[in-house]
């Protein structure tokens, strides 16, 4: 039974439960809702929830667990073949699934009957051709063991699906019956329903934890897989990044240091651009600007923050890069020949700096505004000029907050992807020249994970190790920055 129909049946039972629960409550109260503990509809909701929620939960659980069980037992069937051919189990399993899906479609469209499927023989029938006929193109011919595995995969799925339908509907009916029987006029339906709603709310709030958990687990498992294939020490201390493109076999040098260097160098340039501009803009806006100027300039600057990063990437690649070459290139305006191509650390850093200006300025603006007015009055009352007040009283007072803001901006810069993918170039280098192309951790995550669906080679898995490094660095910076900012705010509360 397809899942959609199963869900519809459960929901229909829920609706029936609502009506029945309400009726029973009203009946037990002698038709007068004043005799009930709760409003009549709460009794209905109670039965409806008891019917649907456990059944849905079971369904979700079943959908998660069944593939795991079937996968592990089917992969036992093909593991011999995997070791013979040296192919990865993942690849063979995906073949198996594809063949099974193809056979399903063939049965659905009436090309084959179930009996014919059972009778299929990889040696005699051209299964690849058969499945291509129903729209499933296979990469290679189907081996007998793959076909057998696919057949048992289908059979197990079928059994599983049947039991799933039976169990889910039985759970729904049990829930309906039990809660219906519990319904009487003294039953505290509202409290029970509200407990249920609260549980849903708690579950929604926990999704944040599940997301973090998902990130951490997916990064850790794949990284461990990577370190099984590639030594961790070489990854963390290797000075060269040079993945082989064959995809299989050694020869790849996967040292993170050149990437980290590129990341930090670009972020540094971005901060050198963004921090002075953003900070002075914030000082001007919060200390000097008249109301009309502020109400125009602040939102305009913040427009820069709302522009998607792909736009900045394109701006770097097609506008800023060529412009910089015209200034610093061989035939350039300065005639210095420092820059040979448009993609460079400088290009990406400059554009990233532009992107970070509003980030630094609005955070600093908030922080400067949090310095109490009495400080300003005290300093001005002593005959200090406005700029002396800002430099000697307000900035020192706001310093921790501003440092926090800069750290947050740095974490943004380190995690930024599109600008560096388009603007920084692809070559990993350990160089001091800012006009050379370099690459970053994020750019390499993208290039190692796009285009290839095989996640078993070290060249692909390295992206997860890069990802965990990135995650740890940005998380550390964020936690530290938020801690500083919070401490700072508490000081003036």
């Amino acid at each position: 039974m397809p899942n959609t129909i199963l869900i519809l049946i459960v929901l229909a039972l829920g609706v029936i439960g609502f009506v029945l629960g309400r009726q029973r409550a009203m009946a037990s109260a002698g038709g007068n809702s004043r005799n009930l503990h709760s409003l009549p509809s709460y009794y209905g909701y109670n039965v409806a929830c008891a019917t649907t929620l456990p059944a849905m939960g079971l369904l979700i659980l079943w959908l998660l667990v069944q593939p795991l069980i079937i996968n592990s037992s089917v992969s036992g069937l093909v593991s011999d073949q995997a070791s013979e051919e040296g192919a990865s189990l993942d690849l063979i399993m995906s073949d198996v699934r594809r063949v099974a899906d193809g056979l399903d479609t063939a049965v659905e469209t009436g090309v084959l009957t179930e009996e014919e499927v059972e009778a299929l023989d990889a040696e005699q029938d051209d299964i690849r051709d058969l499945l291509a006929g129903v729209g499933f193109a296979l990469g290679s011919d189907v081996t007998p063991s793959t076909l057998e595995a696919a057949k048992s995969y289908r059979a197990m799925n079928e059994v599983g699906d049947t039991w799933k339908s039976v169990f889910v509907i039985a759970t729904a009916l049990t829930g309906l019956l039990v809660s219906w029987r519990m319904t009487n006029k003294d039953f505290r339906a509202r409290n029970v329903v509200e407990q249920g709603v609260l549980a849903i709310l708690i579950f929604a709030a926990s999704i944040a934890i599940l997301t973090t958990l998902g990130i951490v687990l997916s990064l850790i498992f794949n990284t461990m897989e990577f370190f099984r294939l590639y030594p961790a020490s070489e990854f963390f201390f290797g000075l060269s990044w040079n993945p082989s493109f064959s995809g299989r076999g050694g020869g790849s040098e996967l040292g993170i240091l050149p990437l980290l260097w590129g990341t930090l160098y670009i972020s540094l340039i971005a901060l050198i651009v963004a921090v002075p501009i953003g900070l002075f803009a914030a000082i001007y806006l919060s200390e000097y600007a008249s109301k009309p100027v502020r109400s125009v300039a602040k939102p305009l600057l913040e427009v820069l923050a709302g522009i998607p990063t792909i736009v900045y990437g394109l701006f770097a690649l097609l506008t800023v890069g060529p412009l910089l070459v015209e200034v610093f290139g061989q035939k350039g305006f300065l005639g210095v020949d420092w820059m040979s191509g448009g993609t460079a650390v400088m290009t990406a850093g400059l554009v990233m700096g532009i992107m970070l200006i509003p980030f630094v300025s609005s955070l600093s603006d908030d922080i400067i505004n949090a310095v109490p007015q009495s400080m300003r009055d005290g300093s001005l009352g002593l005959g200090a000029t406005h700029s002396e007040t800002v430099r000697q009283v307000i900035l020192p007072a706001a310093l921790p907050g501003i440092v926090g803001a800069i750290l947050l901006a740095a974490s943004r810069a380190i995690g930024e992807t599109m600008i560096v993918v388009l603007g920084a170039g692809a070559a990993a280098r350990l160089s001091m020249n800012p006009f050379e192309a370099m690459t970053t951790v994020t750019a390499k995550i993208v290039s190692q994970l796009t285009g290839d669906s095989d996640f078993s080679s070290p060249e692909a898995l390295v992206a997860f190790a890069l990802g965990i490094t990135l995650f740890v660095i940005t998380l550390g910076l964020n936690i530290f920055a938020l801690y500083i900012v919070r401490k700072y705010r508490e000081q003036y509360e």
Partner: protein, 447 residues
Amino acid sequence: MTDTTVTPVSAKPAKSILEIDARTKKRNAAEKRFKAYGIAAICVGLFFLVALLWAIIQNGTPAFTQTYVTLDVELLEEKLDKTGERDIEAIKKVSTFGYKPLIQNALVDATEGMETEIEDKNLAKLLSDSAAAQIRDYVIANPDQIGETVEFTVLASSRVDGYLKGRVTREDLARDKNLSPDHLDLIDQMVEDGSVERIFNWAFITGADASEKRPESAGIGVSMIGSFFMMLVVLILALPIGVAASIYLEEFAPQNRFTDLIEVNISNLAAVPSIVFGILGLAVFIQFAHLPQSAPIVGGLTLTLMTLPTIVISTRASLKAVPPSIRDAALGVGASKMQTVFHHVLPLAMPGILTGTIIGLAQALGETAPLLLIGMVGFIASNYPEGVASGFLDPNSAMPAQIYEWAKRADPAYYERAWGGIIVLLVFLLTMNIIAIILRRRFERRW
């Protein structure tokens, strides 16, 4: 006490405040400089904004016009339907290659009387490869027109288009084997003649992506639909989950470790680089759950997780803005805590929640990096989804991913498309933000 009497104050003669002393002058100059730095910083920031917008508009607007050639094509029966039976299957057998001679004849007719040294067989280089397909589609739809002469408006090739837009110059063509300067002379004459013109390019906004060689017919329409389905997923999932999570944290959560854990998680997730969410999407939805690659539903799920913290943060702020007196009033007449929240607090906070949601959606709409990892690039989005289900499940692209794809292609004609795509994207973002601002203005409540 004694100190104060011993040292008399103002030992030096009182200075007149009407005369500004040298030190004050210096200090005032420093003040002016400092203020100038501030103004300069604002100006630099605004200059960058203007430069960015100027680059977008300057480079992107040409994508909204496209050069078309109007041709009278004689649909020769002996080429298209040799049997003369108008059998649709037979007509379908004629490939686009079979239409080439017809186009060539039409071009020869159209350029009759114009000065050119181009051989007849090279004339077709003026047109897009899609011209033949367009005529073929027409013939298949209207087989009765075979034998007639029909007027077609077909796409010019991207180089001709680039020439009329000033992107391609005669010098560029010296090394180009696809088009020669002679072609351009001919184009000049055809423009005067009126058979070549630039008109508004609806195909760019509604159309599908095209292969590397045919930038003139590439459009952003299909990826727009991809983005739409993704945003639908984000809206359906992120809004209820985000609101539920915020209600719990703001109204019910006790002060304990678990609540702290959630809070810390949310504030950190808001700052996690978007590419990490891409890795999560790849590992969980594709590697683990085997959802189809490149499908909008995967993109939507990934962006949902990314947008949730934004929505939770803004929702909590608007819940917090509802004054406690409202809660007290409801609790005071005997409503339960749950009823108070759902009947009174939530409706009052709704405008703020919607504003936050729209802004979160706008953020998700422009996000590119996670989409690269779940395979929404490198794929030519050439087909419209057939229905709602295939809209969610079939491989598609999304607007920002499509722009990235175009930016990577070597042909400068695609750069123009990329900038044009950015204009379309920004129009969407602008609209969403304006709606958010209007919502906020319209329903803003001061307590």
